[in-house]
Structures are given as C-alpha cells and as structure tokens.
C-alpha cells in the first residue's frame, strides 16, 4: 500500500468533524454566515439614491455564492477525501507567536523594537545561533532600512521609545 492510499484510509477512519474538509468548510461557512448577517445591518438608501441595487445586495450575493460553493466542496470531499496534511511543526507556532508579539510590542513600546525583536527571535527559533548574524538581522539591517525610508522616502515612523530618541521628541 503506498503512502497516498495509507493517508486516504487514515482520513476515512476519522469522525467527520475531525477531518480537515469539515473543519475548513465549517470555518468558511461560519464566518460567511456572520458576515451575511452583518450585511442586514447596512443602511438602506431611499430609491432616489439607489443606483440599481442596494449597497448590501452585492456583498450578500457574494456571501451566498461562497457558502454554496463551499457546500459543493464539502460534498465532493465526501466522495474524494482530501489528503491529510502533515502536523504543523513547533517552528510554525513560534513564528506565529512572534507575529502576535510584534503586534503587542509595536502597539505598546516601539515599532522598531518590535521589528528587531521579531527578527532576532525568528532567526533564533529557525536555528541561527551565531551572535554576529543575529545582530546583523535584528539591528544592522533594520537600521539600514530605517535610514533608507527616513531619508529617501521622507517617511516618519510611528512614535515609540526608540523612534522618539531619534526624532528627539
């Protein structure tokens, strides 16, 4: 028995709500339904301003199309199950966690500090251990980019503990 057959057999033995095809279809339909409900809260314009159709009609139609097509995808997956994807490795979750950390640090402390932190942590978690390279990725390179954007594009970066020192606020 080859690997694909093994994977398909393994997929068939799972209860339907554990299968990827169910989870993905459920999420799409769930989010689309919420969005569809929210379209009913859009303002309705009087007929004199209404150019052809109401502002909510087009998004409603799109969401109905998405839900219907997703149901078709799910139906087809019953006949032909999707292949089981490999389990996501630890590095993926660490990278994702770094994105969240980036958002928190750039919102509360400093945009550049957040970039430096993400760069050093991602590089480290992905296996870089040489200090010089970690400094290059997290300090030297962001400084070059910062200076480039600041001087050539005349960009002002958001305030924060490091950028405020640079801008002498």
């Amino acid at each position: 028995m080859n690997n694909v057959q093994k994977q398909k057999r393994a997929n068939k033995s799972l209860p339907f709500f554990f299968k990827d095809e169910f989870k993905v279809s459920f999420i799409i339909i769930f989010v689309s339904t919420i969005l569809l409900i929210s379209t009913f809260t859009f303002d309705i314009v009087p007929p004199i301003l209404n150019r052809g159709i109401q502002p909510a009609t087009f998004p409603k139609a799109l969401l109905v199309i998405i839900i219907s097509l997703t149901l078709v995808v799910f139906y087809l997956s019953i006949k032909k199950p999707w292949k089981i994807e490999k389990k996501l490795p630890r590095t993926f979750f660490l990278t994702l966690l770094n994105f969240i950390l980036f958002v928190i640090v750039s919102k509360t402390l400093d945009f550049f500090l957040a970039i430096a932190l993400l760069s050093v942590l991602v590089s480290y978690f992905w296996g870089e251990r040489r200090i010089l390279y970690l400094i290059l990725v997290s300090i030297i390179f962001p400084i070059i980019v910062f200076i480039f954007f600041e001087t050539i594009l005349g960009l002002r970066f958001p305030p924060g503990i490091i950028t405020n020192i640079y801008y002498q606020v």
């Binding site: 502002p55 998004p59 994105f99 958002v103 590089s123």
Partner: protein
C-alpha cells in the same frame, strides 16, 4: 519605441529592475509578484514611466529567474517554472546543467521578445475595440476574467472560485462608492477607505510564504554544480525551434486571457511540446524540448498578460495586477484613453520590456552561476529581513499601522488557504476586479432601469457570458479527460 528610454536614469532603472527581478526569481517563495508589491512603495520616488519600467523589468526577469533554481535545485523559483523542473533538473543531474540553463535562457528570451511583439500589435487593437465597450460590456468582461480563475492551474476550480469571490468581497469593505454607506467597517474609521491592495498582496504572498518556510526548515536541497552556461548547439536548435515558436504563441495567447498567467502557459507549453515531439519518451528524463516548451511559454505570457492590463485595465496575471496598481498609484489610468493620450508612455513600456528580455539573457548567460549562489542565503536570515522590508514598505504606503495588521492577517489567511488547496492568486484578481464588477453592474442596471434581461440584448455581453460559461465548464471537461 526606444525614444522614451533614451535617458541614463531609465537605463539604470531597467538594469536594476532586471537584476532585482533575477534575484527574486531565483529565491524560492519570492517572485515577481511579491517583489513587485514589495518595491511598489519605493517607486513613489520615481516618475511614472521609471516606476512602470522598473516593475515590468522585474516581471520579465523574475519569470526567467525561476528557471535557474528549477534546473539547479529542482525547486521552482516561481510557480511558472514548475514545469521546467520536470526536465531541467534531470538534465542537470546528467552533468549538463550548463546546457539546460542555456536552453532555458535562449527560449525564455525568444518567448519574451515574441510576446512583446504581440503586445505592440494587439494592445492597440484591443484598446480600439474597447472604445465600443459600455458599462454592461465591461461588466461581462470582468465576469469573464473572474470565471477564468476556475482554470488557473493551481488548486481545484471550485476552490479557485471561492477564493475569487473572497477577493471581491474584500473589495466591498469600506464606503460604498455610489452611496457612501459603510460596509463591513464595524466602526473602524480607517476601514472606510477600504482595504489596500498592496498589504493584501504582500500578506498573501510574502508573509504566508514566511509561515510556509517555517514548516520546511528540515528540508534539504540537493544542488547540482554549475560550471558555465552553454549556448545550445546547432542540433539543439534544430530539435527545439518549432517547440520554442509554438510555446511562444501558446504563452502569448494564454497571457492575453484575463487572470491566466505564466503558470498555466508553461504547463500547456510543456504538454504541447511533449505531444508534438518526435521523442516524447525523453520527457521527464532531461529533454531539452521540455525545457524549451515550458520556458518559452512562461516568458511569452509576460507580454501577453500586459495586453489586457494596458488596453482594458483587466490584469492578465497576479504580477500584472501589481503593475496595474503601480499605474493607478502613479496617476496613469489604463484603458483605451491611455493609447490615445499617452502613446510615448506606452512606447516606453514596450521598449523597456524588449530591453529587459535582452538584459536578462546577458545577465543569465554570464551570471547564472552567481545568481545560483543567492539560494545559499539561509532562510533563517533571509526571511526576517524580508519581514523587515515588508513591514516598513507597507507602513510607508499610508503611514498606517492598520495596513501592517492587515498584511499580517492576510499572511495567516494565505498560509491556511495554501495549506488546504486554495490558491491565493484568485484573491488578488478578485480584489482588483471587485470594484469594476460591482461598479459596472450597478451602472448597467441604472442604464437598463433595473431590467436584468437587458444584458442579453447586447451581443458583446452575450459573447462574454458564453465565454464565461466555457471557462467554467472547461476545467471539468479537462478533469474528466485526465481521468
């Protein structure tokens, strides 16, 4: 055609664009679409022609650059180079990496130049035809473009259509452009102007690729050593000239079709090369015809894809969607009026694409060995740097942190989409066509006083609807045939 380019600044931009495009093409996971989106903020310092010359040079060279990695490490630098792996790598394994790269370089250049000729002749013709188009015709054309998403090659047709509809849905976020009613803004003021195209592109391509790379850290690439690129021999030319010409024609035609791009072109170019070959059994084992068929086709798609982009404002591929955004950002409105009002600008684009094809031939021929070394930059250093440039570039567009959050969000969405077989390209095409679809639909309904059946009274509209139906049915027939 070259008069607008007679400026040292433009030539520098062209050379830089070609080199940068080659580097992007060589690096797996990056490519002309991501690279174009990343460099877009920097183009704000350039005049419109220089900006578009830069983007088109990246497009042409990036499409070719993918072949270098496909041949040497069996990993396509760009999706359009996937078919090149099939014969490029086996030939390289036989100790003929130089011959494989030489064939890829020559056929890419011929395909690229052929497509520029197609662009020069067909874009003005299409633009002339577009003068006949009213709102209903544009609506039908946009629908045709969207239905073409069903057959873009990656993923299942239905999943592609879902992704396309998702892209259009994103375009409806913000104030309705006809009535100023807020849609999906949920009280966030910054969302009333809508979601920018570039944060979504960079998120779906660059950030999602970063997440994908985080799952592939244990992957080891086997690199084939390259001594020097060799020009094809007379025998190779004899074997492949028909294939190169056929694939150039196929690539240009596929490129002209809305939403289709180099990936589909190269797959069809490759399979046609195999079908017409006297030695089909050699395919997959290092056939030079296979390399020529795929490479001529994917580079021919570049010029072809620029035809609807410039003449109609409908992108021919994901990268031309980025170029289209570049045009709009720089105040250039693609469409028939562009051909009448700014012909020099168009000549500049045509000329730059022609020169870029010649430049990548020179750089590829003499520098492939150096470009191949770029793949040695470890991902653990490369991707944090790409993240830094992405974040700063996206912030610089509107000096808005919301754009950065949107980029990250779409990065995560893009990762899961790709994981479960949804291509991200339809989202980009849907997003860029969304406003056109809704705008033309509503304006058409105003013209028709709400009578939908009036659409069927216009012959061009009916033709596009029929083509749309064919586009929807074709993937199903192809699937049945493949079985």
């Amino acid at each position: 055609m070259f008069a607008p380019l007679v400026s040292s600044k433009l030539m520098i931009v062209l050379v830089f664009g070609t080199l940068f495009g080659l580097i992007l093409g060589v690096l797996p996971g990056l490519g002309p679409t991501t690279g174009g989106a990343l460099i877009l903020p920097f183009t704000m310092t350039l005049d419109p022609l220089s900006a578009i010359v830069l983007l088109t040079a990246i497009y042409c060279a990036g499409t070719y650059g993918g072949a270098i990695t496909a041949i040497l490490i069996n990993t396509p630098g760009t999706p359009a180079a996937a078919a090149t792996c099939l014969d490029g790598y086996p030939l390289a394994q036989k100790g003929e990496a130089g011959r494989a790269l030489g064939m890829a370089t020559v056929s890419s250049t011929i395909g690229g130049i052929f497509s520029v000729i197609v662009l020069v002749f067909f874009a003005p013709l299409l633009a002339q035809l577009a003068y006949e188009f009213g709102q209903p015709e544009y609506f039908a054309l946009a629908i045709f473009g969207l239905t073409m998403l069903a057959s873009i090659g990656e993923g299942s047709p239905i999943k592609n259509l879902i992704a396309g509809a998702f892209g259009i849905l994103i375009s409806t976020i913000g104030k309705d452009f006809m009535t100023s009613i807020d849609r999906f803004t949920y009280g966030i003021n910054e969302l009333s102007v809508g979601i920018g195209f570039i944060p979504v592109v960079v998120g779906l391509f660059a950030i999602s690729e970063m997440l994908t790379q985080s799952t592939l850290l244990d992957q080891i690439f086997k690199r084939v050593a390259l001594k020097a690129v060799k020009l094809p021999s007379l025998l190779d030319y004899k074997k492949t000239w028909k294939t190169i010409l056929r694939s150039s024609g196929i690539g240009s035609f596929i490129g002209v079709l809305p939403a289709e791009g180099g990936t589909v072109a190269s797959l069809i170019g490759y399979s046609e090369a195999k079908r017409w070959s006297k030695n089909p059994k050699e395919f997959g084992k290092g056939s030079v015809e296979g390399i020529a068929g795929a490479e001529a086709a994917n580079n021919a798609a570049t010029g072809g894809a620029m035809v609807p982009t410039l003449a109609l404002g409908i992108p021919g591929s994901a990268t031309t969607a980025v170029i289209l955004t570049g045009l709009i950002i720089h105040g250039v409105r693609p469409g028939p009026d562009l051909f009448r009002e700014q012909p020099e600008f168009l000549y500049g684009i045509f000329g730059s694409m022609l020169i870029a094809n010649i430049l990548f031939f020179v750089f590829g021929f003499f520098g492939a060995k150096i470009f191949a070394r770029i793949t040695l930059v470890p991902n653990k250093l490369l991707w944090p740097m790409i993240f830094t440039v992405s974040v700063c570039g996206i912030y610089s567009l509107n000096q808005s942190m919301l754009d950065v959050w949107i980029m990250l969000l779409f990065g995560v969405i893009g990762f899961f989409m790709r994981r479960y077989g949804f291509s991200v390209v339809p989202v980009i095409i849907g997003l860029i066509l969304g406003e056109l679809v809704e705008g033309t639909l509503r304006q058409s309904l105003v013209i028709f006083e709400g009578n939908w059946l009036q659409f069927l009274t216009r012959p061009i509209v009916v033709m596009f609807f029929v083509l749309s139906l064919i586009a929807l049915i074709f993937p199903l027939i192809r699937k049945k045939k493949t079985r």
